[in-house]
């Protein structure tokens, strides 16, 4: 599943031609059945928003829905909006990547498990996701309440007239002690450009990293370190995509039994422990098994 979807999601995001290039596949009958698109929302506010929408409006089962369906749905939404700006494109790549991350988390540790512990683990994952969706929904509704309060408050305007001229003589001289030099300095402070916010350039300068490369890097790093946290492993990575690709690489190694993963608390740092190469497999074969690109 992941192979196809990773490729499509990122290709779409990197396409410099905008909406024309982003036209998703028309979608088979399955797509039409699962996602009858009658969307009121404009742009989804992140992956949880999209998931919430898909689940509550379409009543779909996320395990049944393929990632490509979700991405198609998103492409349909983008087309409906009828415009393509950088923000939307960035958002799209982000959503696609995060969905891949979420989906991979459910899929990689194995679909057919007999082990009870693992089965429980899957339920935990599901509960975690459920709790995050509920949290997302809670703040969405809270935001609407804030909006209503603000809309009501704006109907009453405060008095701001201040002192009238009768009191001008006693108003303190606010300019006492202000010299032309101080004013000059204040201007320079105000006019000096503030640090320009870093612009995410996913869509114009695609990050060319593959999970394969990431696995190789990890195979180099992990045996030496033995035990590391995910945070340590991703220190210095600037792009979110790089972090996600590293994460996918870790899952791959986990699947192969080369590492163990532990997370002490929800949102806690992921502890990565090197277990050694499974069997007498050569690291090279492990790398070769990995084909998909990020």
């Amino acid at each position: 599943v992941a192979d196809v979807d990773v490729a499509r999601g990122l290709d779409a995001g990197e396409d410099p031609h905008g909406p024309k290039g982003m036209r998703g596949p028309p979608g088979g009958p399955r797509y039409a059945a699962l996602v009858p698109y009658e969307v009121q929302t404009s742009v989804f506010e992140g992956p949880f928003d999209l998931l919430l929408h898909l689940i509550t409006r379409q009543q779909v089962d996320l395990y049944e829905i393929s990632l490509s369906t979700i991405i198609d749905a998103y492409l349909v939404e983008l087309e409906r909006i009828g415009r393509m700006d950088l923000e939307v494109a960035t958002e799209f790549v982000l959503i696609a990547a995060t969905l891949i991350e979420l989906k991979t988390r459910w899929l990689l540790p194995g679909r057919d498990i007999d082990d009870l512990d693992e089965e429980f683990g899957r339920w935990e994952e599901r509960d975690l996701l459920l709790s995050r969706l509920l949290e997302c929904k809670t703040f969405k509704d809270a935001a609407e309440a804030l909006q209503r309060l603000a809309a009501r408050a704006v109907r009453s305007q405060p008095r701001r007239a201040g002192l009238d001229e009768r009191f001008a003589h006693i108003a303190p001289d606010l300019l006492a002690g202000v010299t032309p030099q101080k004013l000059h300095a204040a201007f320079l402070r105000a006019a000096t450009p503030r640090p320009i916010p870093r612009v995410d350039l996913f869509h114009v300068a695609p990050v060319r990293i593959s999970v394969q490369d990431a696995v190789e890097e990890l195979l180099d790093e992990l045996p030496r370190a033995g035990r590391l946290t995910f945070r340590q492993l991703t220190t210095g990575l600037v792009e979110r995509l790089e972090v996600i690709v590293r994460f996918l690489a870790l899952l791959e190694l986990y699947k192969q039994g080369a590492i163990d993963l532990e997370q002490a608390s929800i949102f806690g740092d992921l502890q990565v422990t090197w277990l050694g190469m499974p069997g007498d497999e050569d690291p090279a074969s492990l790398v070769a098994a990995e084909a998909y690109e990020g």
Binding site: D49, L52, I55, E64, L130, L133, C136, S156
Partner: protein, 188 residues
């Protein structure tokens, strides 16, 4: 008939440019803060009884005069300038998280939203709704954000405790059911 103390409060609030805290009024009138609260409550009730076009309210910790909400249509044109643009849905949700979780770090907000919130947080800070309020004492010393006095003013709240409780917005059992259904692994 308004008492001398009530008259003094009316006069001061008439020249004030922002909500005036009860302790300042108490100091200026040389009376207790409790007395100030009582007098202001009486004044507000009197304006209400007389059906005045203005009200006396407590907002962001202080008292101020403001136009009656019924008359919004008449005062609109006086407040056009400086009327700040509406917040986007993303900004509002981020603001809600900061309001209810404060003090909160950027990373904590991002974890809840599931997306990068840097740009939105910057906008909210620039527009004066949120501000850095502390540093996380833990390692990394992340900047912690909270809402501002202006946030309270914009929402017409006296204190942050006047926000509707977050519990009011926790989805009901039907919604939980729907979400749970959606996340149930299919038999394979």
């Amino acid at each position: 008939m308004a008492s001398e103390e009530q008259r003094a409060i009316e006069a001061i609030l008439m020249v004030a440019e922002e909500p005036i805290e009860p302790n300042l009024l108490a100091q200026l009138l040389e009376i207790s803060q409790e007395r100030v609260s009582q007098l202001c409550t009486e004044l507000a009730a009197a304006y209400d009884a007389e059906d005045r076009g203005f009200v006396l309210v407590k907002v962001a910790g202080g008292y101020r005069f403001q136009s009656h909400e019924d008359l919004a249509a008449y005062v609109e044109r006086f407040v056009l300038e400086g009327q700040s643009a509406r917040l986007s849905a993303a900004a509002l949700e981020t603001l809600a998280i900061v309001a209810y979780k404060q003090p909160v770090s950027r990373a904590q907000v991002a974890a809840i939203r599931g997306v990068d919130v840097d740009a939105v947080m910057r906008t909210l800070a620039q527009r004066g709704y949120i501000a850095e309020v502390a540093r996380d004492p833990g390692p990394g010393q992340a900047v912690l954000f909270g809402t501002t006095t202006m946030f309270l003013e914009k929402l017409g709240l006296d204190t942050i405790d006047d926000l509707p409780p977050l519990g009011d917005f926790v989805p009901g059992p039907e919604m939980v059911e729907v979400l749970e259904q959606g996340l149930r692994p299919s038999a394979s």
